[in-house]
């Protein structure tokens, strides 16, 4: 077999122009396949592990998916807020063991700001019921204290004691900064691989405080309430964006969910995070299957092109194959030679794709994480991807049999002297 490998390499190199085009097609398809698989797995893992141990997430009535997206992933916006009184009423239900209110809407240099209570750090779980841990400092206690997620601290190079200002909304428009009320970093969280890493956490009262002299999303002109006198005002929030609930008994979740849905005072929606994520997954699953289907089709086209190129070249290669037979190659060797050539092209295509996917993951991973709240993409191959590659090579092997078989038959018939 070794002499065949050498000949196969030289032969493929000789026809590098035509084979190169099919190589590109195969490489493109495999890149698509691998990318879809990798993003799907990262998203699946990232999404699933973002929230754990929470029975219900409650917010203004909207689509369940939208609510999970902004309450857990801090992506997108709530259509409406929840009245503080409603929150208190529901949190007081005997079935509820703990509750954590959430207020979203501000940002800091592109990272979302979450207003909540210290109970958040106690009850929020992620992954396999992991609690949040601190690498430095502690939860907020003072009014203008802030706790940073791991990525915020790393990306912006903040340490304990750093002074930061928040911005209203996404912070992209000028004049939206709450510059007069800076915050102090008192805690930095350990990395979790969830949207917590990208979030700046402050107290609910602080959110109220920075909006005291604001109205309708902009500062009231001529009115300025300095930071040191805000505590004189009532900093009880009137509305929050959403809240998380934990129950004494998980099986009671449906009853409470129904109760919240029937709540007369305000239109509210309570979702089970697991169920909402499943629904998200079903939708994503459809897209993902379509993408995979298209990628496999492109791959089939690439393979068909390869087979066509190999077949087309067979006629002019008959003398060359006869020469090989004269030095002692059998038709079997001819078969293997052609299969080797096809497989070499496929292998090269796969290696090229791997290089592309790995560098894309390395370069683009952080951006994807920022945009969609995913954990960064892994660089190494996963089990699912290895299975995919096995399927790819199996398909290539099957297709390579076709021109190889034809060459085998030709070689048998031609012998040492092809009749041309």
């Amino acid at each position: 077999m070794k002499p065949l490998l050498h000949i196969a390499l030289k032969s493929a190199w000789n026809r590098r122009l035509t084979l190169g085009l099919t190589l590109l097609a195969i490489s493109l398809a495999v890149t698509l396949l691998l990318s879809v698989e990798r993003i799907r797995e990262a998203a699946r893992d990232g999404f699933a592990q973002s929230v754990s141990g929470t029975d219900l997430i409650v917010g203004a009535r909207s689509s369940p998916l939208q609510m999970v997206l902004y309450a857990v992933f801090h992506v997108g916006e709530a259509s409406n807020n929840v009245d503080w009184k409603s929150y208190q009423a529901i949190a007081a239900d005997p079935a509820v063991a703990w509750s954590v209110p959430l207020a979203l809407g501000d940002s800091h240099r592109g990272f979302p700001v979450l207003g909540t209570t210290p109970a958040y750090f106690e009850h929020y779980r992620y992954g396999d019921r992991q609690p949040l841990g601190f690498t430095a400092g502690q939860p907020f206690s003072g009014l203008f204290d802030a706790v940073l997620g791991a990525e915020v601290a790393t990306k912006l190079g903040y340490k304990l004691g750093e002074r930061i200002t928040l911005s209203h909304g996404s912070g992209q428009l000028p004049g939206q900064a709450h510059a007069d009320k800076p915050f102090t970093v008192v805690g930095i969280l350990a990395p979790t691989g969830t949207p917590v890493d990208r979030t700046v956490h402050v107290s609910l009262a602080a959110i109220e405080a920075i909006h005291l002299d604001w109205q309708g999303g902009a500062p009231i002109p001529g009115v300025a309430i300095p930071a040191d006198v805000v505590s004189k005002f009532d900093l009880q929030p009137k509305t929050i964006t959403a809240f998380m609930l934990g129950l004494h008994q998980r099986s009671g979740v449906f009853r409470l969910q129904r109760k919240i849905a029937d709540y007369r005072t305000e239109p509210l929606l309570a979702v089970l995070p697991g169920v909402a994520l499943d629904q998200l997954w079903q939708t994503v699953g459809v897209v993902e299957k379509t993408l995979l289907g298209i990628s496999w089709l492109v791959f089939a086209v690439g393979l068909a092109g390869l087979a066509a190129v190999m077949l087309a070249s067979l006629n002019e290669r008959r003398r060359e194959l006869a020469v090989l037979r004269s030095v002692g190659a059998g038709p079997r060797h001819i078969l293997f030679l052609l299969m080797l050539e096809s497989l070499l092209v496929t292998l090269l295509g796969v290696l090229l794709s791997l290089a592309v996917v790995t560098s894309a993951a390395w370069l683009g991973g952080p951006w994807l994480a920022a945009q969609f709240g995913l954990s960064t993409l892994p660089l190494a191959l996963s089990l699912g991807e290895l299975r995919l590659l096995a399927g790819i090579f199996a398909a290539a092997l099957l297709v390579s049999l076709w021109p190889a078989w034809r060459a085998y038959r030709l070689s048998l018939a031609d012998g040492l002297i092809p009749r041309l």
Binding site: P3, H6, N14, V323, L324, S326, V327, G328, A329, I417
Partner: protein, 222 residues
């Protein structure tokens, strides 16, 4: 007494779908170190005969024995191995793999036959020696075979056929593509090298003028 290099007895071949025999040869024997000139018009079954001697085809009647081994007794893959070990071929044209270098082409048989490789010792040196003996410019060694002229290609083919001292050398119209002055020179070079190696030579051609170079002569009927 060594068995003859080639022993053909009552040979006849017919394609399965055909009625008539395309080749009939009563007897032919070539001893080691001897040369046979085989001539016949086109259609007389020369290609078939070469395929039979090469072990690619099996006769319908009769037998072909090489070095005492009846080819009919060997399986197809054993025949391929036998061919690799003991035979060298030169064809009329397109002898070389165009994308391999001259050197790689000459060394091909050594890749497929460990026996021939072991007889050579230093393959590259032997290849150079053969090519020099066949009067080929040594600077061409690294070039892809497709870049050579027809005459140069034929000489490379001869070197390839001769490397590793195969016991049998088959040449099928090797000079037909060459011009007249070079034909005689080529034949002489080929035969002298073959004699050095002690190989039996079968030379097929329609050009009777060349017959004088050979020990025996045989005609194939149409």
């Amino acid at each position: 007494m060594n068995p003859p290099a080639i022993a053909i007895t009552n040979l006849a071949f017919r394609w399965r779908s055909a009625d008539a025999f395309c080749l009939e040869l009563a007897n032919a024997t070539v001893n080691a170190g001897k040369s046979l000139f085989l001539h016949g018009p086109s259609g007389s079954g020369k290609s078939t005969l070469l395929n039979l001697i090469g072990g690619v085809l099996l006769p319908t009647h009769g037998s072909v024995s090489l070095l005492g081994q009846a080819l009919g007794e060997l399986s197809a893959s054993r025949r391929d191995a036998f061919r690799a070990d003991h035979l060298g071929f030169v064809f009329q044209q397109f002898n070389l793999i165009p994308y391999l270098s001259v050197l790689d082409n000459v060394l091909l048989p050594c890749r497929f036959s460990t026996r021939r490789a072991s007889r050579v010792g230093q393959p590259e040196a032997e290849a150079r020696r053969l090519l020099a003996g066949l009067d080929l410019d040594p600077t061409l060694l690294g070039r892809p075979a497709a870049e050579l002229s027809v005459g140069q290609q034929q000489r490379v083919a001869a070197a390839r056929a001769l490397i590793g001292q195969p016991e049998i050398l088959i040449a099928d119209e090797p000079t037909s593509a060459l011009d007249a002055e070079r034909q005689a020179v080529f034949v002489e070079l080929l035969l002298s090298e073959a004699k050095r190696a002690g190989s039996a030579v079968v030379f097929v051609s329609h050009d009777l003028r060349l017959a004088t170079h050979f020990d025996q002569s045989l005609a194939l009927n149409a």
